[in-house]
Amino acid sequence: MAKTPAKKPPAPVPPGAPVAPCSTYAGASMVRFVDEAGNLLAGEAPFPDERVAELYRHMVRARRFDARMLKLQRQGRIGTFAPCFGQEAAQVGSIAACTPKDWFVPSFRELACALYRGAPMRNVLLYGMGLEEGSAAPPDARDLPISIPVGGQSSHAVGLAWAMKLRGERAGAIVYFGDGATSEGIVHEAMNFAGVMKLGVVFLCQNNQWAISTPRVHQASDRPLAERAAAYGFPGVVVDGNDLLAVLSVCTEAMERARSGGGATFVECITYRRGVHTTADDPRVYRGEEEEKAWESRDPLDRTRRYLEKRGAWDAARERALEEAVDAEMQVEIQAAEDYRASSVNPLEMFDYVYVSMPPYLKAQRDEAEEAFRGRNVVVGASAPWVPGGAAAVGQLEEAPPEDAAAPKGGAR
């Protein structure tokens, strides 16, 4: 099955060994470039080492921040969080195939993609703190916010690719979703639209073997998910999702096809959610350590680092320096986010973006709420009651100047 579109850069290796004890795709071909030990499977290096090292940096940064988010959640400093632990190659390899003109349409687990696209850590943190401030869209960025209802965002990518086509822009859309999402009707509808209208969408499915506690085998038949694409009239590719080079190669070609009017591609990245589904989940209930161990040995960061080390493009010193830089960055960002939360965050803001301009009945409710909130600590995590006029200013999260500058100041910094 699974047409392999990768032509240049060269040397995909179909069929690879079945990587996944959970994946039942024995016999199906899968695009692989690099084995677990970091060896190139065939041919020349398809990408310059500096580029691979750069992407590796992104993977490490994402993993470190991901782990930190988890810790912050355990400390009660942020709320529910869905880690990307183990899926960094699938995410960085695919998003790196996009230009800033291409639309990034995430699900809820694409932390590594979001960081790659330039989302400030402090925004991710604020979102984690339950503050809408964290998902503010910079007007020119072609990034959509987190989408939690499983699968729904696939249709937005269809609309975006369609808009690009109508406007004659050389841009595509990449939409992320999981193996579980493929069961939702809307994902089918979106693929059918993209197929019949030949829209430039890359359907990037991270088959991480689990949808919360539901294993891949209970989600769908034992045929590869990517096999569905053919009947919609576009190629489907199964790729080793823990192989950064393979993902990058396949997605580079798919995105180029998307941009140039060649239509859609379904890319199924075989990977593994190494951590919890979200911080509210306990995987020990439904899966064994053995399976987790098996996937640990296929970890995408280890593999990429080994590849780079073998080529002399990476070493322990660089690793250390990178870790230190990320740690320093995180410290600043966490401080900024926590400062913001502690700065008398305005609870009334929830009234501001319901409509473009506030209708009178909503204004009346807002006034009512202002009265009800006065002097009370109604924001979760705030260290002091909100006081009108006491809004914070933290970096790019700077707020409009308080309407009533004369109002009493308050709120800890």
């Binding site: 809408e132 503010a136 729904g152 369609w162 406007r167 509808e189 473009v356 009945y361 909503l362």
Partner: protein, 330 residues
């Protein structure tokens, strides 16, 4: 009949054509909206005139029609999508409520959502099952949506223009029983009708009748009958905008009359009358002037029946008249 005296279908068609002419970002998508011009012919001739890129026959998938429209809007277009019947808009609810209504807030104002979802609604045309429902409450209860329902050619023309120019997501219900029921004058390149503005259609000081959509005509008839038989002054108000709603016209009127009857085609329980009653109670100046219980006339709390029984199911002029009289005499 002058050239500008048109049915509601023609008025909607004209509004679409003029807005597409005016703004190249406006486009139409939906099931059978192209070659066929829509099952009610609202989009007739528009594909010929504006081309296949701007008037698109989509696959048969309501959720994706709305979801794609969300994407199109973010991508810089201004999609007007058609649900063939409001009874099938259910299938798109998982896009309308979690996504279309929320993008503005989710992005802190960063992404506007200039999408119009048009849907023929209501009964009275002897149609099949699921082709007759009045579904407004599923949308009125969703913060962030604009919900409009015209009551004839003139308001359909003006409100659709306003909807298309709005930066907010609009659910635009078209009461299908009056698509071709009567004609009204509309201007050429006329103005939008302001969203949020109710219209007082008949003045009167004894009782206020609040309604919208296809019920407007029935209420006017009932009001005339009551006025003729009793001499009472029946004020009739057409809401037009169901969300966001600031029923100032209603408040002003009920304060004056002390009596209010709300008439809607949707089933009684959970219908919009309850909301209007609650708003009245929230206005002390209006509440304390009440001289009779607030009353409603609505469809019965049963599934919309097949067409043989639909006349029995729907509120009709007799039932409305009877309720106005009861309220006047309470």
């Amino acid at each position: 009949m002058s050239g500008n005296s048109v049915t509601m279908v023609e008025a909607l068609n004209r509004a679409l054509a003029e807005e597409m002419e005016r703004d190249p970002r406006v486009m139409i998508l939906g099931e059978d909206v192209g070659v066929d011009g829509g099952v009610f012919r609202v989009t007739k001739g528009l594909q010929d005139r504006f081309g296949k890129d701007r008037v698109v026959d989509s696959p048969l998938a309501e959720a994706c029609i709305v979801g794609a429209s969300v994407g199109l809007a973010i991508g810089g277009m201004r999609p007007v999508c058609e649900m063939q019947f409001s009874g099938f808009m259910n299938f798109a609810y998982g896009q309308i409520q979690p996504h279309m209504s929320r993008f503005l807030g989710r992005t802190r104002g960063g992404r506007r959502m200039p999408v119009v979802v048009r849907a023929p609604s209501g009964g009275g045309i002897r149609a099949l099952e699921h082709h007759c429902e009045s579904e407004e409450m599923s949308y009125v209860s969703v913060p962030g949506l604009v919900v409009l329902m015209p009551s004839g050619p003139r308001t359909a023309y003006g409100l659709l223009k306003a909807a298309i120019r709005s930066e907010e997501p609009v659910i635009f219900f078209e009461p299908k029983s009056i698509y071709r029921a009567f004609r009204e004058e509309i201007p050429v390149d006329g103005d939008p009708y302001p969203i949020g503005k109710a219209e007082v259609l008949v003045r009167g000081n004894d009782v206020t009748v609040v309604t919208w959509g296809a019920m407007v005509r029935k209420c006017r008839e009932a009001a005339e009958r009551v006025a003729a038989s009793t001499g009472a002054g029946v004020e009739v108000i057409d809401l037009l905008t169901l969300k966001p709603m600031d029923p100032e016209a209603v408040m002003e009127s009920v304060k004056r009359t002390g009596r209010c009857v709300v008439v809607h085609e949707a089933p009684r329980t959970g219908g919009f009358a309850g909301e209007i009653f609650a708003r009245i109670n929230e206005r002390e100046d209006v509440f304390y002037g009440l001289r009779a219980p607030l009353a409603r006339v609505a469809a019965y709390d049963v599934p919309y029946p097949l067409f043989a029984r639909e006349n029995a199911y729907l509120p009709d002029t007799d039932r409305i008249e009877a309720q106005i009289l009861r309220t006047l005499n309470a």
